[in-house]
């Protein structure tokens, strides 16, 4: 383990349990400056609890978290001044405009007014919210509120950016711009923490990812490392007509098998002989094949396999 002064975030044996299996248990982790670390997990897996612990909004039962050299429990000025965060819900003063909300947040980071206006102008532009900047927040859509939360987190260009479910409800254009911005921050040596359940977007931004299940990290590594672990698998997507129910083949070892209407998704070992075998099985069960697609493994596959909740679930 590295020295605390060189790590952005150090989590040691952290536990916070609301009830057995709820919360986080025994998390240990080091995040270096300039890393974009992402936690991927299903709903209720403990991601948001971990994020709240990181921000000092909750106290751990045991273990500790050091953020930018400060114990997160004390929520020191140094910790909070250098951190920008969005929580899993967008919280604003709804009767005020988006600009007023963002200005209030930025001003509390002691930024000069001119600098705030310049920075906010650019961020509202980036989020495509300029036209609505002076409208009351209660007129905003869910996605616009989410964007505003992200603007507020970014307004003071923080050393540590913490984003809880940043892509929920926001448009693809903004997702692309946000991932570019995060990559630029990474180049500058700034750290980003993301927790979410959007593997495709996270795969494009994160330098390191951890999969979380039942409050524990069940796998961690770079995108390539995590995908590499499941590279021996391939996903076969078959569209049949008419939509007959085809049972899971008993002679082929499938890692997962799921049928929704006329679409069947099968995860099997990367063995070229298995594809025709699967087709033969479907035909033998009376299915007429319309379309076959063989897809290489992605982070989603790695996630699904690692969480032990394969497609059939």
């Amino acid at each position: 383990m590295n020295n605390t002064s060189t790590t952005s975030i150090r989590i040691v044996n952290l536990t916070r349990e609301y009830a057995p299996g709820r919360g986080v248990t025994g998390i240990t982790l080091d995040i270096e400056p300039g890393e974009c670390f992402a936690v991927l997990g299903r709903n209720g897996s403990g991601k948001s609890t971990l994020t709240r612990l990181l921000l000092g909004l909750e106290r751990p039962d045991s273990g500790n978290i050091t953020v930018l050299g400060n114990n997160s429990v004390y929520r020191s000025k140094d910790h909070l001044s250098n951190t920008g965060a969005t929580l899993d819900t967008s919280i604003h003063w709804d009767r005020l405009s988006g600009w007023d909300n963002a200005f209030f947040v930025a001003r509390n980071y002691r930024m000069p007014v001119k600098e705030i206006e310049h920075r906010l102008y650019n961020l509202f532009e980036l989020a495509d919210l300029t036209a609505n900047a002076f409208d009351p927040v209660h007129t905003y859509s869910f996605g616009m509120r989410r964007k505003l939360s992200i603007i507020e987190a970014l307004c003071h260009d923080p050393e540590l950016l913490v984003l809880d479910e940043p892509t929920t409800g926001v448009d693809v254009q903004f997702q692309i711009k946000l991932s570019r911005l995060i990559k630029e921050r990474t180049v500058k040596g700034f750290t980003t923490w993301i927790s979410g359940n959007d593997p495709d977007w996270i795969a494009g931004v994160a330098s390191r990812i951890a999969f979380m299940e039942f409050g524990k990290f069940i796998a961690a590594g770079t995108v390539d490392e995590l995908i590499g672990e499941v590279a021996q698998f391939q996903e076969i997507c078959v569209t049949i007509n008419p939509p007959l129910e085809i049972p899971k083949p008993c002679n082929v070892d499938c890692s997962s098998y799921m049928q929704t209407g006329n679409s069947i998704t099968i995860l099997v070992d990367k063995n070229p002989g298995l594809v025709p075998e699967m087709m033969d099985w479907i035909v033998s069960q009376g299915g007429k094949i319309n379309k076959v697609e063989v897809r290489q493994s992605t982070l989603s596959d790695a996630f699904l396999l690692k969480t032990g909740r394969a497609l059939e679930e």
């Binding site: 001044s81 819900t89 007023d100 209030f104 947040v105 001003r107 509390n108 002691r110 000069p112």
Partner: protein, 236 residues
Amino acid sequence: MKPSNVFQLEMKTLFSGKRNLALKIGLTLLLGFPFVMVAMPLTVKVSGLMMLVLFTGFFGAAVTLVRRRTDGHTARLKLLPVPQWIILVDFVLSGALIDMLQTGIILALFVIVNGQGITGSTFIYAAGLFCITVVMLNIFGIVLGFVMESNPEVHLAAALTTGFFALISNLFPVPARLDRLIETISRYNPISILSDVLVDLGQDNVVVHDQPLLIPVLILVIFTGSVIFRSYDWGI
């Protein structure tokens, strides 16, 4: 004005919703109006008005804090590098100012309609007491809001505590065996002192000595100074 602290944020929120502002002031006026205009014993009028002040100040502050917490606003504020005590002071200041606006109008109406022989010093005395009362109720309300977790919980606790405050402030007749205890508490309780002053004002009976005047004046100066200080963005 762009809000740069919680006090400004709360004030701007209040004044940005004209309907909400009109409802807040209008409802208080509507509730308090009978105690100003209808012929009834002066003590009953004052007790009614003081209950209005208690509910608006204490009950309002407690319920608002819990609502802020359940809405996530307090969590959002905790993410800012601002000491929590400053946020709390801003909550008390803004809450007290809003309450003064709501109940101050009806109390002023009461004094105009029922008051007799008002002098500058009696006015300052009453205003200072009113300020202490509202600030104190807001502080107690925020303390209660901290302890209570949910909306039903805080509503029940605040209603019961408001009743308790009314009892120890001598706003209603109490059993004879509690008389002496309530009498002692009332001597140091701004709610009952204000209530006595309002009754005395209606009877042209207020006697203000130099010493008691000093504390209300100080409170008024500190409160007004704090409001002015927090209303301006000092660029620090």
